[in-house]
């Protein structure tokens, strides 16, 4: 009996017609095929083909941008699973929370995962912004990407805030009431703005439905688009320049 190594198995797999039809490149052993792995892939082509060695060090970025993105991915996955068990209606929304706790297998764990990731994402995005600032990452040619980053920060806050109402418990109801009362104090059209957001003058079932649609459809889609542009612009603006400000600090 011959022992086949992983390498041999992979080589045999790579030689199959199916594999070649999917990846359309050889094994990533040369820089050419490694480049193809990035720009031949619709998702990875948002990333640069080469990165500065300096910018890969942990201390350069703490991977805060990547972590923010990964949290968005985790939140999307757990959020979709939660949607299977959720009705945006009064009081069914609250009963669904009870079901997650007592009926659904691992329902508590699923909800915890979503909640924890949401809190950490707010922290990660803020931290990411402050870190980029102190590293001078906003300097030209990165100024427009910095502005997109500010938009992404606001989107993160809105996503978290709209999700806050969905359990429909006292915590959710009054947090949203406090927040939307602030909005009503805006000049010229404050109460009207609140009316549009809540679908009424008070937090009720219309508000729950609107926050649900915003939280599960509109805001994630908008955030997804802005994240794509954010990644794309890193590449187009010439990659991260974190190494430089490092040297500047030493001088």
């Amino acid at each position: 009996m011959t022992t086949t190594t992983l390498e041999q198995t992979m080589n045999r797999l790579r030689a199959t017609r199916a594999w070649r039809s999917i990846f359309r490149r050889g094994p990533a052993r040369t820089n050419r095929t490694r480049s193809l792995a990035i720009f031949g892939n619709v998702f990875l082509h948002l990333l640069p083909v080469k990165v500065r060695q300096q910018s890969l060090r942990v201390r350069a970025t703490y991977y805060l941008g990547s972590i923010s993105f990964f949290l968005f991915v985790v939140l999307t996955l757990t959020g979709v699973l939660l949607m299977f068990y959720y009705h945006p209606a009064v009081p069914q929304a609250y009963l669904d929370m009870k079901d997650l706790r007592f009926v659904v297998s691992n329902g508590v764990f699923l909800r915890n995962l979503h909640r924890v990731a949401a809190h950490i994402m707010v922290i990660a995005v803020f931290w990411h912004m402050f870190h980029v600032f102190y590293r001078g990452g906003y300097r030209p040619p990165h100024e427009f990407n910095w502005a997109i980053g500010v938009v992404l920060l606001l989107l993160t806050l809105f996503l978290s805030y709209t999700g806050y109402l969905l359990p429909w418990d006292q915590l959710a109801f009054w947090a949203i009431t406090v927040g939307t009362n602030i909005l009503a104090s805006a000049p010229f059209a404050g109460p009207q703005l609140r009316y549009v957001l809540l679908g009424g003058n008070l937090v009720g079932e219309n508000a729950l439905l609107r926050f649900y649609v915003l939280h599960c459809v509109i805001l994630p889609l908008v955030a997804f688009l802005f994240i794509a542009v954010h990644f794309w612009r890193i590449q187009k603006d010439g990659g991260l320049t974190v190494g430089e400000s490092d040297e500047r600090d030493k001088q």
Binding site: N31, R34, S35, L44, L47, P48, V49, K50, V51, R52, Q53, Q54, L56, Y63, S66, I67, F70, V74, Y94, M97, R101, V108, F109, R111, N112, V116, A117, V122, M129, F133, Y134, G136, Y138, R139, P140, P141, W146, A147, V150, L157, Y161, W168, D169, Q170, L171, W174, A175, T177, V178, G179, I182, S185, A186, P187, G190, L202, V203, T241, G243, E244
Partner: protein, 233 residues
């Protein structure tokens, strides 16, 4: 281009195999990208992708562990007739809610957040933030005067509203700024570091100090009627 006009320097890319020949004009105000030298570069695949995957795994493990030991809160069914005291916004808005305690809703809820967002967006569009020269490097006495007058006006404004939780971090950061002005004979490491900081660094650090203070106070130190409570009592 005449020799006397020393505004531009011309250089020519020499490696025709790697890049088509191109003439480079570098103005004195070089952008960050132009200044970058030839640094060692790595292929994103697999170097960046692999590191990303490791970061993702570490993050996932962390999330799972926290989710196993901590439970998401769930209170009673929402009831518009029973108002909890105090009714608190999510933690990241508690800084704003703390401001609302001092200032009218229009100022604390609309004007200040709008100003913060606008200020963040325009940071890279001002040359003073891009050059980032030390605050006290030149024009020292005039800058000190402007600084003290601005801080004094700000403190008078905050004092009128008795916004103590804003005043304290403001005084702390402004104090450090003034300390870094004086040229001590044997400065500590921290003072030497502070002395090289640009204005934008000071403003951002002040902003973070105030936001952190307000958020922590709003989360842990505010009880019924937004009165001061000690969290350990």
């Amino acid at each position: 281009m005449s020799e006397t006009n020393n505004k531009f320097e011309a250089g020519i890319g020499s490696n025709a195999l790697k890049a088509p020949q191109r003439v480079v004009f570098i103005t004195p105000k070089t952008s960050a990208k132009v200044r970058a030298r030839a640094e060692k570069q790595l292929m994103s695949y697999p170097q960046l992708i692999l590191r990303g995957l490791i970061a993702f795994e570490v993050l996932t493990i962390l999330l799972v562990v926290v989710s196993l030991v901590w439970d998401a809160p769930l209170e009673q069914l929402a009831n518009p007739l029973v108002t909890p005291n105090p009714a608190k916004a999510p933690w990241y808005f508690l800084g704003l809610q703390e401001l609302l305690h001092y200032f009218p809703p229009l100022v604390a809820g609309i004007v200040i957040p709008t100003l913060v967002v606008v200020a963040l967006v325009v940071i890279p569009y001002f040359n003073v933030n891009i050059k980032g020269g030390p605050l006290w490097a030149a024009d020292r006495s005039r800058r000190l005067l402007i600084f003290i007058v601005s801080v004094a006006l700000l403190l008078i404004f905050l004092g009128l509203y008795r916004a103590w939780t804003v005043i304290l971090p403001t005084v702390a950061i402004a104090g450090l700024t003034v300390v870094s002005f004086f040229q001590l004979e044997r400065p500590q490491r921290l003072v030497r570091f502070l002395r090289t900081r640009p204005l934008s660094w000071w403003v951002m650090t002040w902003f973070i100090a105030v936001s952190l203070t307000l958020t922590i106070v709003g989360t842990f130190f505010r009880g019924p009627g937004w009165s001061w409570v000690w969290p350990w009592r």
